[in-house]
Amino acid sequence: MTKTITSDWIRKYGLVLVLVAMVVTLSFVSNSFFTSTNIINVLRQISMNGILALGMTFVIITGGIDLSVGSLVAVSGVVCGSIVFNHPNEILPAVAAAVFACGAFGLLNGFMVKQFGVPGFIATLASMTIARGFALVYSDGRPYVLTSDSFKVIGQGYLGFIPIPVCILVVVIIITAVILYQTKFGRYVYAVGGNPNASKASGVNVGLNLLAVYTLNGLLAGLAGVVLASRISSGQPAIGVSYEMDAIAAVVIGGASLLGGVGRISGTILGFLIIGVINNGLNLLNVSSYYQQIVKGVIIAGAVILDQASKKRS
């Protein structure tokens, strides 16, 4: 009986163990890892991927995937960049325009999936290049250099000692958790991913829910894009390439099933924390950026294999 309790525990908290092990190891190996400056730095770095991964969690629970979010980060950057560049004090309209532009792309993704039954992978593959092209056309391929101090606050400011991006991330975590766990829509997201036919037969409007999920993901990608643009003081059309991969990796490390129906916010949080710590650790250890990619891939694969193995043992 003790054996099953231990394996239960590992299954539930295996990822926490992975994270703790990484943190402990890094604290020993590097003097600068476990310092308040660095911890805050890590949290700020993960906030963008965190926001993307939280949106991606919804999409993956419905059994879909969204490859377009990396490009949407760029769309968001150039849209708000162009407005802030010309009107340094029109922050709110700039942010709103960027977020809604990306929401529109998300709506388009959802529409292709809902109306024509295009698989999410294909629909968002198409809009990934469309959105990237849009960002380049819109900005004529040049970045908007942003000097507005009030805009910089979003990505570079602090609330007390906590960076604003981290505050935004926390708010997004709370909102997404409430949506997923407390609302009818959240339930439908799980049901649609677990079995679309049974959902339809139970009176769920499957298409409408898919539309909403992809739109929500677009909006969050827009928000992440704004945070990034502010952090680097620039709206760049070429940024965000392969950001979708880190977001997907975080969700999958967090235990969501690509088949749909399974996934949790808490898992995704662990997922992007793990990825953030890997990135930061490799930098501190001066691993060359070429090797970083290999090491990161191996660690991600290892984490998921470990998770799968602990699930299978039951």
Binding site: T4, Q182, R187, N195, A198, A201, G203
Partner: protein, 497 residues
Amino acid sequence: MDETILEMTDIQKIFPGVLALSGVDLAIKKGEVHALMGENGAGKSTLVKILMGLYRPDGGHIRFCGEEVSIDSPSIALRLGISMIHQELSPIPEMTVAENIFLGRESLLPWTPFIKKKEQKERTRELLAEFNLDLGAGVKMSSLSVAQMQMVEIIKAVSYESKLIIMDEPTSALADEEADNLFKTIRDLKRKNVAVIYISHRLEEVFEIADRATVLRDGRYIGTLDKDGITRDRLISMMVGRELSTIYPKQAVEMGPPVLEAKGFDRKGIFSGIGFVVHRGEILGIAGLIGSGRSEIMRALYGLDPLDSGELYLEGKKISIRSPRDAIRKGIVMVNEDRKGYGLVLCRSVRENIALQNLEHLTSIGLFIRRKNETKGCSSMVERLSVKAPSLAVAAESLSGGNQQKVVLAKSLMIRPRVLILDEPTRGIDIGAKAEIHRLMSEFASEGMAIIMISSELPEIMGMSDRILVIGEGRIRGEFLRDQASQEDILKCALAG
């Protein structure tokens, strides 16, 4: 002794926290049809999975053809000559009959990865001819009926030169006529000295086909009966450990006014000119062969399938239903015949499954779920339908078939519907759960619900329905009152044409 092909003795299997099998014996003779009986959860599936190498036993011995064997994987079982036809068939739909039969053991041109297609087709043709199956070897599986697919699976098993074939609920997807064909095949197998372990919940079939029967209950061996000893009462009392007075307890209810009326339902090529009425407190039985269009009519009524033309009246008022959502809002619910495909979200909890159809009534400002109401509603349904689940939080897939079906019913009945459509409500579930579902149907009818029940099982139709419609080739072939009809009449009516 030499005629015993399989001997399993003192088999034990433990799952975390559950003793699934304990001290189970099973002996099979060459060329016999041996029924393995028991309620869901009795351990039949676990026992045959051990035999197929899918589970490892925690104790006991298996002797096959006189030799002690240890079966660690399905490929070992196949090599020994044991194969299984699963409850849910698993052909690959986009491959041909020949490709499916030879899947995983294709004959290749020597030293190449190329398949000897001609030889495979030739061999398949021989096998098909042997079983009088009028099919081309190059036909895609997806174009076959369920019955034909099943025949192909059986042929596949035979082509492995199996000495023992396990059939798990082989008739659950077949109409009576198709089942007769299956029995013919089983008799052919006997003649070829192949032994069959036959798992079924339908007692009639066991009387018809089995030479002996072994009964399990709660993971224990209860006993083995010879053909002369197999009687309905004996089997049932061994399986449930108590006497079941009646299986079909529909009480006479005074029929109320009409609730639902369909007129002129048409769907091109599927059904036409369908009209019927259901009354308060009535159970309307729908009989017909599989493929007759009976399920399609109800799916169209419910908004799951398209309908070309037709009018629908609910309590005298004309309504239109374009999706299940419309139907549910009007108080019409349907329990689909395909429990896993259309009934449950298997990976989610019992709570979420029961609530899914009823969330509109369980939310505040149409948005946030009221957990307390949800818990109260779900638990009271679980209690009323006596669903056996450790808690509301367990995944639906972890329950037995009978309890899964009760979860689907709980979902459909939570907001009391005016019209309940049941498509094969008791398919593939054990006799105890079946009796309970029948009792519930009767109860709800007497509370004034109008129930439409599609079933392939004539005794169920005869026992539960106040009125019976017989569907054949997309048309209504006949209508009978309960005490007017005999099983023969209905069957004749369904087959006529």
